[in-house]
């Protein structure tokens, strides 16, 4: 699975980082960095929670 970030929607709230810190991080400028766009099996649950938890619906998973 691959993570797709819509930069026009993301406002750097960081809910994703709190749920999947290996994959997402908000930098000092307040912008979201996707540290890896491929999701391993072990990360799937956390990343799905991060996608569902995004208040601006800026994240999507593509298989």
């Amino acid at each position: 699975m691959k993570i797709v970030l819509d930069h026009t929607r993301c406002t750097g709230l960081g809910v994703c980082e709190s749920l999947a810190p290996d994959v997402f991080e908000v930098n000092d400028a307040g912008e979201l960095i996707v540290k890896q766009d491929k999701v391993s099996d072990g990360q799937k649950d956390d990343v799905e929670a991060a996608v569902a938890g995004c208040p601006t619906e800026a994240l999507r998973l593509e298989s």
Binding site: S18, A52, G53, P55
Partner: protein, 410 residues
């Protein structure tokens, strides 16, 4: 799972929508009915006091899903513009006036309603902000240059003040307490939020209450308890919200500032769970009952309440570190955890120097909360630390490592 089962979700806002989606995601193939008091498709509320009030072209209503998606992809029967009036937990029926909808499983997600000022309901120009209609009216008043008075310096009231100042309008915020937001973020950081108002030209008056809202055919002024008055074309009461439980009074459910639930969001009657602003549940992470009016918990509780309702045998608890955010005068405010602390310590930043500050909250030897203004790069790291039960000294060590070694004053 028998496909004949019927899930009824009462409340068609974020928690209700996520309940529908959560049930389908878990493989529920029975019928789902979504009942909503407002005539609209589920829409997002945080933008109503934030982006929706920005100057410029009025944005569209922030609807979550199209009607087609709800009906065709999620297979939901929509019953909108229909206020639930009672819940019969014996016969398992949601009543909407004369109409009854039978359920096997139900999720209560009726949210909260804005508290209003006493004695001036219906005077034009006086509003609360909870619905899209409220936001449209407030936006129109701001666009026409209204002298604005906000009653209550909570986050919604403060965001409205911010929207007014962006248009250069005169704004007064009236707060009864000596410091705003004490319950939400504690005294020290409440004072920090107060300073944002002052820096941005909002007249914040604390420790004074509203005596009367005056006006003949339209609001004209607000008279205060200290004998002064403020002229106003727009008055917005941001004085909190109360959980929408009136319709449940004869249900037999336990109500105490919300629907009382266990840690799985189970409301105590067979098949009935609750989610979102209306739910007071036991949060195992802090070992206490909580009722949150936050986006994140509404979304997560909605999904979990529905899963637990359709598969009660494997019901899971909902444990969370509360999180909310606010946007004030171009600054992002974020809070994680709880503000009920033995100590609040500022660990980074200086509003005067770099428009940024981070504070940590200690209870006993544990980190229980973190507050940030423009601290997006660290706030969620503290949320993770609170989730895993980090000690206070771990948190301080982390804060020390994150602080820039040299931060020259500007």
């Amino acid at each position: 799972m028998p496909s004949s089962r019927h899930l009824v979700v009462v409340g068609a806002s974020l928690a209700g929508l996520r309940a529908v989606e959560g049930a389908r995601k878990t493989g529920f193939t029975g019928a789902i009915t979504l009942v909503g008091a407002e005539p609209h498709l589920p829409y997002d509320r945080p933008p109503l006091s934030k982006g929706y009030l920005e100057p410029g072209m009025p944005p569209d209503t922030p609807v979550f899903r199209t009607e087609q998606t709800l009906r065709d992809e999620l297979g939901v029967a929509l019953v909108l513009g229909a206020e639930a009036t009672a819940l019969d937990t014996i016969r398992r029926v949601v009543e909407i006036g004369d109409r009854g909808i039978e359920y096997d499983a139900a999720v209560i997600a009726t949210g909260a309603v804005a508290r209003t000022l006493r004695g001036n309901a219906g005077l034009p120009g006086v509003h609360t902000l909870r619905t899209i209609e409220d936001a449209i009216a407030i936006r129109a008043a701001l666009d026409s240059g209204a002298r604005t008075v906000v009653i209550g310096a909570g986050f919604i009231g403060s965001e409205i003040a911010s929207g007014a100042r962006k248009r250069g309008l005169p704004v007064t915020v009236i707060e009864a307490q000596p410091t705003p937001l004490v319950r939400a973020v504690g005294e020290e950081m409440g004072a920090m939020c107060a300073s944002l108002h002052q820096r941005n030209g909002t007249d914040l008056r604390c420790g004074v209450s509203v005596a009367r809202v005056e006006g003949e055919h339209h609001v004209e002024r607000v008279a205060l308890s200290d004998g002064t008055s403020v002229d106003a074309d727009l008055v917005v009461a941001g004085v909190g919200a109360v959980p929408a439980t009136d319709w449940l009074h004869d249900s037999g459910l336990r109500l105490s500032d919300g629907v009382v639930c266990d840690e799985t969001l189970f409301a105590g009657a067979p098949g009935v769970y609750a989610a979102g602003d209306v739910a007071r549940w036991h949060n195992p992470l802090f070992e206490r009952p909580m009722r949150l009016e936050h986006w994140t918990s509404a979304a997560e509780q909605g999904a979990l309440a529905a899963r637990n309702a359709v598969e009660p045998a494997t019901a899971k608890p909902y444990a969370t570190v509360p999180y909310f955010w606010s946007d004030l005068y171009g600054n992002r405010i974020q809070f994680v955890g709880i503000a009920d602390a033995d100590e609040v310590r500022m660990v980074d930043g200086d509003l005067d120097r770099d428009a940024r500050c981070v504070a940590l909250y200690r209870a006993g030897g544990r980190l229980v909360g973190a507050f940030a203004i423009n601290g997006q790069s660290v706030i969620m790291k503290y949320r993770s630390m609170i989730t895993t039960g980090a000690t206070w000294s771990d948190a301080l060590d982390f804060a020390g490592r994150r602080r820039p070694a040299v931060s020259p004053p500007r």
